[in-house]
Subunit: 395 residues, 2 copies
Amino acid sequence: MLTYPRFNFKITHRDPGSRARLGTLVTPHGTIETPNYIFCGTKAAIKGLSPAQMREARTDIVLSNTYHLMLQPGADLVERMGGLHKFMGWDGPLLTDSGGFQVFSMGHGQVANEVKGRNKSHENKSLLEISEEGAVFRAYTDNRKILLTPENSMEIQRKLGADLLMQFDECTPYHATYDYTARSMEMSIRWGDRCLAEFERHDNGAQGVYGIVQGGVHADLRAVSATYTADRPFFGTAIGGCLGGTDEEMRGVVEHSVPHIHPDRPVHFLGIGRIRDVFTFVRLGIDTFDCVIPTRLARHGTAFLKGAPGETINLKNACYRNDPDPLDPENLIPASAGFSKAYIHHLLKAGEILGPQILAQHNVATINRLMREIRTAIRAGTLADLEREWLGSGV
Amino acid sequence: MLTYPRFNFKITHRDPGSRARLGTLVTPHGTIETPNYIFCGTKAAIKGLSPAQMREARTDIVLSNTYHLMLQPGADLVERMGGLHKFMGWDGPLLTDSGGFQVFSMGHGQVANEVKGRNKSHENKSLLEISEEGAVFRAYTDNRKILLTPENSMEIQRKLGADLLMQFDECTPYHATYDYTARSMEMSIRWGDRCLAEFERHDNGAQGVYGIVQGGVHADLRAVSATYTADRPFFGTAIGGCLGGTDEEMRGVVEHSVPHIHPDRPVHFLGIGRIRDVFTFVRLGIDTFDCVIPTRLARHGTAFLKGAPGETINLKNACYRNDPDPLDPENLIPASAGFSKAYIHHLLKAGEILGPQILAQHNVATINRLMREIRTAIRAGTLADLEREWLGSGV
């Protein structure tokens, strides 16, 4: 039986008015307070920021994507280089996903669209076959055929050596039928058991594995899947798969799942992380979030800003051309304190990469501040006030 | 008469075997030791590095380009924002050029090619007219016609507010005739006087202006131009214009110029900065260098490395795929100390911008180390030994 002796999750405070909770999540690479936000370093790098800059922005935990790393540079190389922590220079807690999300995104069209209910053309079908054994896909790097199974997803994640791992699952699209989603969810359960068996065969206590709740937008399927994860010796629970086409459907998915998951394990929400989402889903019991948007928005000139209508401002906007004020002096990092909005506007207009770099660090620092303030507000019982401060008229 | 009371240049040591010398260059934003290297922040930003990262790489002085800044965001805006130091967040010594190099590069084809004697097609002829008054060109940003004169080059540089300024001059191409080069050099002399007159009208002691030696590859013209700069109250001397088609011609240009310039003023060599150039021209009496290559090479995956044949290694090379060693542990900055060559190779293969960012900081740090070691070696009389250490079999 898996016991995860070097891991721990302890709920330290519960909000009387919601499912929101404070916790401490202990890993071999350090302890983080929850709720918290896991920043995406897809290819073993946060886009535009060094680990030192991530620490400067007060980051606690990052993730990297198994799918990308298995193709380039390969798990064996990362293992020979001493594992992902050493390879990428991040000595804090680290998570890897299973590779499934990206494999299936290329079969079902863009899963990022599908998960969020957007019906886009299936432009990139590199997924060749899904069977009980696993999924066969073509590598985007060199076109070779690759079979990804529960067993080798675990093997790859073991070689990468992150603290927190994800079971291999099929990520079903929004437009899948009920029957397809049900059969897929049942297969993900069988895959979950194969992941646990493989994980246990090699377990040396250095890693903890999460089960993933699937079942699309269907309450009964989510309940079955969530109950399964609670019944098995996973260290944590992740909510994944199709999250619906609207904020309401996404909320429904979590509401259908959370009552059935293990109440004492950390709960991760896969791929969701706008500021309004964080407020909504912290209240529904989510402990950790991940999303690419802090750095992706930065590449488009967009900054998260406390109190801004719609969460963000776009520094390319001409109204910032003459604005001598810093972006957000309260962040207390060089990225915000030192530069005027006029300067960042100029960098974006001039196509200087330093513009997105500054905004990436600003966005990461802002989200980390959001999470610190949320933790303080949960303890103080002032989450609703804090939400109004952050989202302004957007609430 | 211009006296530059807040500026000073003092030669503290002379190499008995060459013209190499040590100096201290005092500006209102700090004092630097020479020989030194001025890093290019073309559009008010070093490509890929924040001022904090430049300081971390032990940078003393940077420059920015008047031509680019006058078009975007404009000198008036920079002035309203408190000047270039404040705008770009660099509080150390700062230099601007006159705008001439870029204006003429677009009329004569790529001056960067012409200056170095490469005969490329004149693909980009935005220069419309050169007359005694100045140069008319079309802005690449919005196609408007702009007249740049000695007077408004000085005005723009005054508004930008750098410490060290350059006179406006015509930068003649390699393939210009002797007669054209001679007439152009004489016009640059008249332009120099107009620059000094305009500069003196507004001088408040915060800036120092350099005269520029022109005259192509012709010894007699270089002598006339150099003698002119020595006769006028410039704070420093820059060697510019066509530098020839070979290393020998470039060396000749400096050898023809230096004996005639003012012996007590700082000497800047415009746009030249490979490691072998630094060794060659320090010996000929150059005090400061500038070149875009530290950050440009980084964008191509190339790292300066002490002792590497040809000065550099390219981290994209497959031989680094499995190399666990850091790029250069002696640089003692996070960019070099923390990351293996295998990791940087991976970042470049994966198209992660962090790769060029790491290499940019590495290259800047390496060049700054080169300059520190050169200063130490001049004092110790061991410049030849140091050159062998840096250039290995390339010497």
